[in-house]
Every structure is written in C-alpha cells, then in structure tokens.
C-alpha cells in the first residue's frame, strides 16, 4: 500500500533528522528534539511547532507510528506519546541517505568537497 520510497525524496531536513533520531529507539517528542540537538552539536534546535507538524505529516505518510509500548514505569510520563519508525520509514531514510551520498560523490568529483570526509 505504501508508495515507493523514492517518491518522497528529497526529504525535508527536519523529517530526515526525526527519522535518524528514531533509528535506534522509540522516543517521545522532547527526546527527539534533544537527540537532534546533540547530533548537530546544538546547531539545530527544532521548535515544538515544526516538530509536531512534521510528525503529523510523517504519520500520514506512514513513516512513523505512535506506539503503545511504554518504557519502564520509572522513565515513563503518562502525558507523553512515543513514536516508532516503520519499515517504510527506514526504507525512505535509506533512500535519502543514498541520494545524499550520490550527491556528495558528484560534488567531490567536481572538486567541491574534500576527498575524505
């Protein structure tokens, strides 16, 4: 039922970051923001609006699901919703990474990027 992963490319950067934040484990909204902030060394701090707008769209596109598996009670907060990446979401993220990789390779061939990152 899901469309082909390539049809969603290129991904908006917020979407790609959220997918990466959820790659390893299910997270709630604030944890996603924190994760992205750490990954980018504080360069990118998503606002609540951007985060939830992206999440809403990603839910509709089938990249994420809301999960009912709660973490251990001592870490849990009733109010929070947890999100999990779907296999389709993972496929889309891989496709996006491949696309970026190709792009970097081309940039390198043109002398725009260092030979080894």
């Amino acid at each position: 039922m899901d469309p082909h992963p390539a049809s969603l490319l290129p991904l908006p950067s917020a979407t790609f970051y959220i997918l990466m934040a959820l790659a390893a484990e299910d997270r709630h909204g604030y944890a996603i923001i924190q994760d992205i902030e750490q990954r980018t060394n504080g360069a990118l701090r998503l606002s609540a609006g951007t985060l939830y707008r992206s999440i809403q769209r990603m839910l509709e596109q089938g990249l994420l699901v809301e999960t009912n598996d709660r973490p251990a009670p001592e870490f849990d907060d009733e109010r929070r919703r947890y999100y999990r990446i779907t296999p389709f979401g993972a496929a889309v993220a891989r496709a996006e990474a491949a696309r970026l990789n190709d792009l970097v390779r081309m940039a390198r061939a043109s002398g725009f990027a260092p030979e080894k990152a």
Binding site: Y30, G49, Y52, Q56
Partner: protein
C-alpha cells in the same frame, strides 16, 4: 505559558487536540532553560514560529482535503457535473443581473461629487414633469440660493459634412454654465465661454472622444479647425474625455447654446433641461422647498402663464424611469430566486451524498477523526464545487451580459454596459463563497451530529425520519420558488402578447422608412423644402412596386412627443392633459401609405397652401372629444397659433408606442407653414410602401435623394415593422430572460423532487421488498411514491401561489392591464408544477415497482 496556549489556537482544532499538551510540555522546558534577558528574543521567535507552522499545517490539511475531494468527486462524476452546472446557472444568472442593475441603479454617476447633482423639472397639475422654459429657468436661477451652479442643455441632431458621406449625428447644446456645474474638464482644449454662448456668436464645438477618433483619427491638431454643421461653420475648441457620455450614449458633439434674444419671450415654450449642483450641505428636500417658494412667487408674478406651475428637484441618476427600474428589480429578484433554488438543490444533493457516506464518516470518527475535521473536509468539498461552478457562472455571465445590455436605459450617462469590472467579479466571488458555505456547511453539521456508531450497525437504514423532513422542506421551498417564477413570467408574457397584439392603427407590412432632415438655413423657406420633397416623392412613386410614398414630421412610435394645447370654441386656454393633441405636418398620401383609414372628408392636398384657409385632418378620438355625435367637418379649432378648419377625420394611431395611451392626433398640410417657422416639425421621415421586398428599393431611393441634393444625409433607415417591434423590445428581452430563469428553476425543482423520491425509494427498498413479499400490489407501491411526490408539490405550490400573487401585485405597473391574479396564468403555472412533479416521480416510481423482494431482503 497561558500566552503560548493562546497562540496555539492559530492551529486547526484537530491538530491542537492532538498535540497541544505535548507542545506545551516542550515549550515549558525551553522556557525553563532560557535566562531572563533572553526571554524577549524567545517570545518573538516563538510568535513567528507558531504563525509559520500553523499556516503550514492549515495548508497541509487543505492539500489533503483537496486530494480527498478530487478522489471523491472522481468516484461520482455525475454528481460533480450536476452540482457544478447547477451552481454555474445560479451564479451566472445573478452575476448578469447584478452587472445590469449595478449599471442602471447602483453605480454613482461618472461626475465629481455626483450626490449633489440634481435635475429640476417643471411640474403642472395633471401633466407630470416637463422641461421648463428658458424664461422660468432664468428666474429660478436668479431667485434660488440652494445651488452652487446651474446650467442647461437640449438635445438636437445635425448634419455633419466631413470626409466622405454626409452624416446625421446626435448632438447636445450646452449653455456656458453646464460643464462647470457637472465639474467636467475637456481632455484638451477649453469649455464654452460666456462669449461663445451669446446670440449671434460664431459657432463653437466640443467633440466627443469617439467622434474625434473616428472622424479625425485622434489628431491633436484639431483645435481651431472648422467643421461644417448644417451648413454653418463651427470652430473646434476642445475634445471631451473618453468616458463623458452626456446627456446620452449617442451624443457625438456639443455646441454652445446661443439662445436667441427672443428665447425668453414665451414662458410656455418648454424645451430646456436644467442641471444644478446643490450647495454643500443642502439636501434635496431643502432645495425642493425653496423651489416651491420660488414657483409660488412666479405664479403670483405671472398668474396667466405660470398658473399651477411648480418645480421638482430630483437627484440626477435617480430619474431612471420607474418602469425600467421595476423591470430590473424583477430581473434581480428572479435571479435571486434561481440561486435560492440552486442552493437548496445542492444542499439536498450533498445531504443525500453525505447520508450515503454516513458509514464511511462514522468509521472515520471512530478511528479518531474529530468532528471539526469532518466538517472542514465536507466544507472544502462544497467550496470546490462552488468555485468551479462560480468560474463557469462568470463565463455564462460574460456571454449573456452583452445580450442583456439593451435593458440598460440609453438615457444614462454611462458607456457600454459590457463593463465586466472588479465590482462584478467581487460580487460573483462573494456570491460563490456564500453559496458554497450555505449548501455545504448545513449538511456537514447535520451529518456530523449523527455520525455516531449507530450508523455502523449492519443494515442500518440510511436517512432517519428527521433528515427526510429537512430534505422535504428544501424541496418544498424549491417548488414554491419555481411557482413564483413561473407565475411572474407567465404574467409578463401575457402582458407582452397583449401589447404586441394591440392594433397600432396602421399597417406595417412592406413599409420602409428613412430620414432626410433638411438642414437650416439652407432649407428654411417652405418653397425650397417643398421642391425637395416633391422631387423625391415624385421619383420614388415611379419606382417599380411602390404603391405609396409620403413625408411626415415624425414617425409614430419613433417619436412620441410634439404635443400642443388645443383651443375649441368656448374652451378657455388652459393647459391640461385633457386639451392637447400630437401635431404633425404631412404630405398628401401619408394616410394611404400607412393604410390609416380616412373615415370622412379628405386627405391634405397640394393646393392647401399658405394663401388659403388653414386646414387640418384630425383623428377620430379628437373629433369625438370636441364634437361628440356631430359632424366634425367644417368645425374650427385653434392650435399652433392659427385657427384651423377640419377637412377630414382619420383613424387613431398609437403615436406613443404599444405601451402607452396616446393623445389624439392632428395633421397639418406640409405647405401651410411660414418660412423658418416650426423647424422642428418639418416633414423629414419618408415612408415608402411597396409590394414585395421594400428593402431592395434602397439603392434606388438613395440615388434619387443624392440627385436631389448631393449633400443631404440619409439616416435611420428602418422598416416600420422594426419600429413597432422596438417599442416593446426591452420588455420582450426581459420576458425572454425571465422565461429562461423560470425554465431553469423548473428543471431544478424537478431534479429536487426526483432526488428526494429516488433516495426514499432506494433507502426503503428493503421495506418495499417485505411489503411485496407480504402481497402488496405493485400499483399500490407506485401509488405511494406518486402520492409522496404530489404531497411535496402541493406543499410547495400553495405558498408559491400566495407569494406569486404578491409579486404580481408589485409588478402591476408592468402588466399592461393584465390582472395580477390572472386565472389562466395561475392555472398554467400550477399545471406545469404538476408536470414537474410527474417528471420527478417517474424514475423513482418505476424503480420502486421493480424492486425484487428476494434480492431486497437478501441484501441484508
């Protein structure tokens, strides 16, 4: 924190319900992490962030809804096409009607501060409004203080000899104060100065933009050039702006008035049109009461001439005739009726659709779609339909408006009625939005209130009783509105037929007419005119097929005025409608050419000349007014300064057209006129009766006139039948439009009835199946469906007839004597309503009769 929650209201409710808590949590942490000095920056950032993201979410939802709508409409193309067409008809009709009414009734006049411009009419008991005489005008102007400026004009026509063919053009004569009162400046050049406007001053002329472009190629060097008008030289002093159309759309140029010194002599010589500008702060009512005082003073001063003479101040632009005003109101009302029917019909269609989708909507609610989300979705759908319909409707209107422009009175100082500007588009857009919301939101709310789990129960009957009441009410309203339209159209149609069936008093078949207005001073002498007319008539009568030809001052219906007071024996000279008649000069043979019967006595003759007794031929009504049951021949009466003897009586004709009653007619011989007098009444309209194709004679007639005078222009070439027809043309156009509206309404109402019944039948097929299984006859089932249709129709027809009666009452002035409760019309309309019901019932009834009990029950 509360401020943040408030900001979140910019998001759609569905999004807020879902994420507001989480977002507040995130924001609370951020707030905690921010130091006090950084707070203003944080809030500014948050404000713009919420603004941007909420718009983005709205856009996301819109995109999603549009996608969903497109899919839903693709699934039911029949519905989509019907809905769009219905909206297009409704909006098209209203846009067209609005653009006309806007031109004629709403739009301010194209002059600076138009609210202060007024016309001043002379009034006389029993006469209504008429133009004042220059003498009265001069006194009004001197004695009143309500006006900051006052000027006057009159209409005329001139022969222009320019390049190529000599041309007959419509002009107006302005006095020096008129353009300053209107506050209009020429495009270039100057306006008339006091020196231009004096008796005996050399001729000066302002050109219209159109004439300047057409005749002189828009050459700016035109200033100072001389034109030959009626044989006199006029100097061009300026060109008026492109949008200056005054006093009418056909006016091509303006000359200075140059009122003759003796123009003030006769207080009853009513012929000028004054325009005045109210002083700032003075109301029309104040000006009127001042003018009443002034008139009373003048009446004391001139008890004979100004007896019962008053003055009326009317805001300019408000003097669109009551009849054309009423016609336009009728048009707008009819268009509104069509839109109302279209909207109810669509609401009904959408309701049916929504009911069919009840299960789907219930499922969506069950999986968490908020009610607000569903309403929004359904509203988007109806707005998309309305938008498509509106666009198509504007297209319909663009096509129809030029056809309707004949309804805009020619007397308005506005340009072509094709103006399709932002006002009209704005109106159409507003109407579209309103339509979309009206027919979309109501059903959406209704559905969502009911979109609960009951709909999910297997075999639940779609459309509970309550909803059917609503839908039936909508259909009843449609039927009522279409009955109103049918009756109104019927009444106007009957009035039109009645008018067109009136006997004009003459026979039109095979009569060709044209005008050769002989210019002054070239043809001031009666002898020179007689020579021209006789030469033309003599040669025209020789043409093959011609059975009669004659000249008259003005053709009947083409010109209704030329009314003079009549004095007979002991009758005192009292100017009142009861003692006036229309006056014409004719050549011998006029009555024969128009087949107006000569009842007693004789026609005018060639030897009725100036040296002999003044004679007259009068109409039957004239004779019986003054000499009832007596022989009118040889009687005397006084009219137009002479004592005249009746030598013949002819049948009455409708000088004022088919719509109005006409004054009795009086005809004088064309030779009994002193040189340079009655210029206005000189015979200028040629009538030619011919067997066969009279239009084929035209080239020969042109050649004859050219050879008589090569500079003489020929204008107004028409058949007499055209003239008679155009006297009812605007009414005929109006009736045709109304008939089209009524037909649309009729169709829509039939669709509405069909929709309700079809739905009832399909949603009850199980019940019908059970009843059939239990032995019900097919006839009884069909009867039940028909009964339901008949009930709907009757419920709509009864209030419809009542409203139609009121609308007929309010149109009574247009009905030419047809009674607003005309039985034939009401019967016909009700009959059509019955037909409409039957049409609506046929398919559902047939379907009900074909319900197969076994299938119907197995579907469970």
């Amino acid at each position: 924190m509360r401020l943040y929650r408030l900001l979140l209201h910019l998001y759609p409710a569905s999004f807020r319900n879902e994420y507001a808590e989480e977002m507040c949590g995130v924001f609370a942490r951020r707030l905690r992490d921010t130091s006090v000095p950084a707070l203003p920056a944080l809030w500014t950032g948050v404000f713009f962030e919420v603004l941007f993201n909420s718009l983005a979410v709205h856009a996301d939802i819109l995109r999603q809804d549009l996608r969903y709508t497109a899919r839903a409409l693709r699934r039911t193309p029949g519905f989509a096409v019907t809905a769009v067409l219905v909206v297009a008809l409704g909006i098209g009709a209203n846009t067209a009607a609005f653009s006309l009414a806007d031109q004629a009734l709403l739009r301010p006049l194209p002059f600076p501060d138009p609210g202060r411009l007024v016309r001043i009419w002379e009034t006389e008991s029993g006469y209504g409004e008429m133009e004042p005489s220059p003498a009265n005008y001069r006194d009004w102007k001197a004695m009143s203080h309500s006006f900051s400026a006052m000027g006057y004009y009159t209409n005329s026509a001139l022969n222009l000899v320019g390049k190529g063919e000599p041309e007959r053009i419509q002009i107006a004569m302005f006095d020096k104060d008129l353009l300053p009162a209107l506050e209009v400046q020429p495009l270039f050049g100057r306006i008339f100065s006091p020196a231009d406007d004096r008796d005996g001053a050399p001729g000066t002329v302002l050109l219209s933009y159109g004439l300047w472009q057409r005749q002189f190629g828009g050459d700016r060097g035109i200033l100072g050039r001389q034109l030959l008008l009626n044989g006199e030289r006029f100097t061009v002093i300026g060109v008026m702006p492109r949008d200056f159309y005054f006093p009418s759309r056909d006016t091509q140029l303006w000359t200075a008035f140059r009122l003759k010194a003796d123009g003030y002599a006769d207080r009853n010589d009513n012929w000028i049109y004054p325009i005045a500008r109210l002083r700032a702060g003075v109301t029309v009512a104040q000006a009127s009461s001042e003018m009443a005082v002034v008139s009373a003073q003048l009446e004391r001063q001139y008890p004979q001439e100004n007896q019962k003479i008053g003055a009326r101040v009317v805001r300019m632009g408000e003097d669109v005739s009551p009849q054309s005003r009423l016609l336009l109101y009728a048009l707008v009302a009819a268009a509104a009726c069509v839109l109302l029917i279209a909207c109810t019909n669509l609401a009904n269609l959408l309701l049916v659709r929504a009911l069919m989708r009840e299960k789907e909507l219930a499922v969506r609610t069950a999986i968490g779609a908020g009610r607000e989300r569903l309403v929004r979705q359904l509203t988007t759908e109806s707005l998309v339909l309305a938008l498509a319909g509106g666009a198509l409707g504007v297209l319909v209107a663009t096509v129809t408006v030029p056809l309707l422009s004949r309804l805009v009175p020619n007397s308005l100082p506005v340009g072509q009625a094709s103006a399709f500007d932002w006002r009209v588009l704005l109106f159409a857009a507003a109407l579209t939005a309103l339509t979309g919301v009206c027919f979309g939101v109501a059903p959406a709310w209704r559905i969502c209130r009911h979109a609960d789990l009951t709909a999910l129960r297997e075999g639940a009957r779609a459309g509970s009783g309550k909803k059917e009441v609503l839908r039936s009410a909508l259909v009843v309203a449609e039927v009522a509105a279409s009955v109103v339209l049918l009756v109104s159209t019927g009444l106007l149609l009957r009035a039109l037929w009645k008018l067109q069936g009136n006997d004009p008093g003459f026979r039109t078949e095979g009569v060709l007419t044209l005008r050769t207005a002989l210019p002054s001073p070239k043809y001031d002498s009666t002898a020179s005119r007689t020579a021209f007319l006789n030469r033309v008539l003599g040669e025209v009568r020789q043409l093959p097929g011609v059975t009669g030809a004659a000249y008259i001052s003005f053709l009947p219906m083409a010109m209704g005025g030329g009314i003079w007071p009549v004095e007979v024996g002991e009758h005192v000279v009292e100017r009142s409608a009861a003692h006036t008649a229309s006056m014409r000069f004719v050549t011998p043979g006029f009555f024969a050419a128009l087949r107006i019967p000569i009842e007693t006595g004789r026609d005018v003759e060639e030897n009725d000349t100036l040296g002999r007794q003044y004679v007259a031929v009068v109409s039957r009504s004239f004779a019986s007014r003054y000499w009832p049951r007596q022989d009118p021949l040889g009687r005397h009466f006084k009219m137009a300064f002479q004592d005249r003897t009746v030598v013949g009586v002819v049948g009455d004709i409708r000088v004022r057209g088919m719509e109005r009653e006409s004054e009795p007619q009086v005809y004088f011989p064309y030779r009994q006129v002193e040189d340079a007098s009655f210029q206005f009444y000189q015979p200028k309209d040629l009538v030619i009766r011919a067997a066969g194709n009279s239009a084929g004679l035209l080239p020969q007639v042109y050649r004859i006139i050219r050879s008589a005078d090569s500079e003489q222009p020929i204008s107004d070439v028409r058949t007499l039948a055209d003239i008679v027809e155009s006297s009812t043309a605007s009414r005929a156009v109006e009736v045709r439009i109304l008939a089209a509206f009524a037909a649309v309404a009729f169709l829509l109402a039939a669709i509405g009835i069909h929709g309700v019944l079809a739905f009832v039948v399909s949603s009850r097929s199980r019940e019908i199946g059970v009843r059939m299984a239990l032995g019900a006859q097919r006839g009884a089932i069909v009867g039940a469906v028909l009964l339901r249709g008949a009930l709907l129709a009757a419920a709509g027809a009864i209030p419809g007839v009542a409203v139609a009666w009121f609308s007929g009452k309010s149109m009574e002035a247009l009905l030419a004597g047809i009674k607003p409760y005309d039985a034939a019309t009401f019967l016909a309309a009700t009959g059509l309503c019955l037909l409409m019901t039957l049409l609506g019932c046929v398919l559902p009834a047939w379907r009900a009769a074909r319900v197969d009990p076994i299938t119907a029950m197995r579907n469970e």
